[in-house]
Assembly symmetry: C2
């Protein structure tokens, strides 16, 4: 069930991130930083919003999003990650839909998603294309040489 | 002459930003925040680097740049602003060149510049095209309805 995370869910959120082999150490630490800001300052102040999909006390996946500064109604969807040890069963899609609805309620009109162009991210890119996102731009060698930035958008 | 700014230059940096009519209040406040982080934490910790073009004690313009997190060698050039009350005389171009050289020294290989697609920013876009930047992407309605994001890049 999609819920707002509780403070105690932080460990599972970080563990899911670490277990996803596509994320490197710096990315895992980045999620940790966003989560800490969210927990200590709240969403309004930190600018980070989290949702989890939970079965009893087990976090199956989470999303993190927030308003892009200097814009009016544009939101970044920073992360969607699902526990790789479970049968996925649409957890990512449920989190995506719930995040879009929450962003709409916050006055969002445009979602921007940034991901990598590496082959290992192909399922991710296909997922966003299949869920109504448009591939808007590719920035060659953005993350590092040979690792492009791919930007997807969806107008709500 | 291009220099590292001193703490006392902050007032002039903010005043130059405020006098540039293309920047709105939120953008002026954003520069203020970056400057405060730079002054209190330094470049390494804050991730923000500033350069100024100064004639005696008069700041003619400034630039602000820094490494993009989660990338290896990609730098954002956040701001270049020139005092609109002076004859420009290549201040912007000098700041741009000096920033590129500094980024190269910091290990940068790619510069990313984000600006607006509004008509009032046309001189800005022409300036970047004339200085070797490539228009890589346009994200429709990014800043607000009718105000696109335009992304320029330059490989160093």
């Amino acid at each position: 069930m999609i819920k707002l995370p509780e403070k105690k869910d932080g460990a599972q959120i970080l563990s899911i991130t670490a277990k996803n082999t596509v994320f490197n150490q710096e990315e895992v630490e980045c999620v940790d930083e966003l989560w800490e800001e969210y927990v200590t300052q709240g969403s309004d102040k930190s600018g980070y919003y989290f949702l989890v999909d939970k079965e009893d006390d087990h976090v199956l996946g989470y999303s993190c999003y927030g308003p892009r500064s200097l814009t009016s109604g544009t939101f970044d969807l920073y992360w969607i990650a699902v526990d790789p040890t479970i049968h996925r069963g649409g957890v990512g899609r449920k989190l995506l839909t719930a995040s879009e609805e929450a962003i709409l309620k916050l006055g969002g009109r445009l979602i921007v998603l940034e991901t990598s162009g590496l082959p290992v991210y192909e399922p991710t890119r296909k997922f966003y294309l299949a869920t109504g996102y448009t591939l808007e731009a590719t920035l060659k060698d953005f993350y590092s040489d040979g690792d492009d930035l791919v930007i997807f958008t969806k107008h709500l």
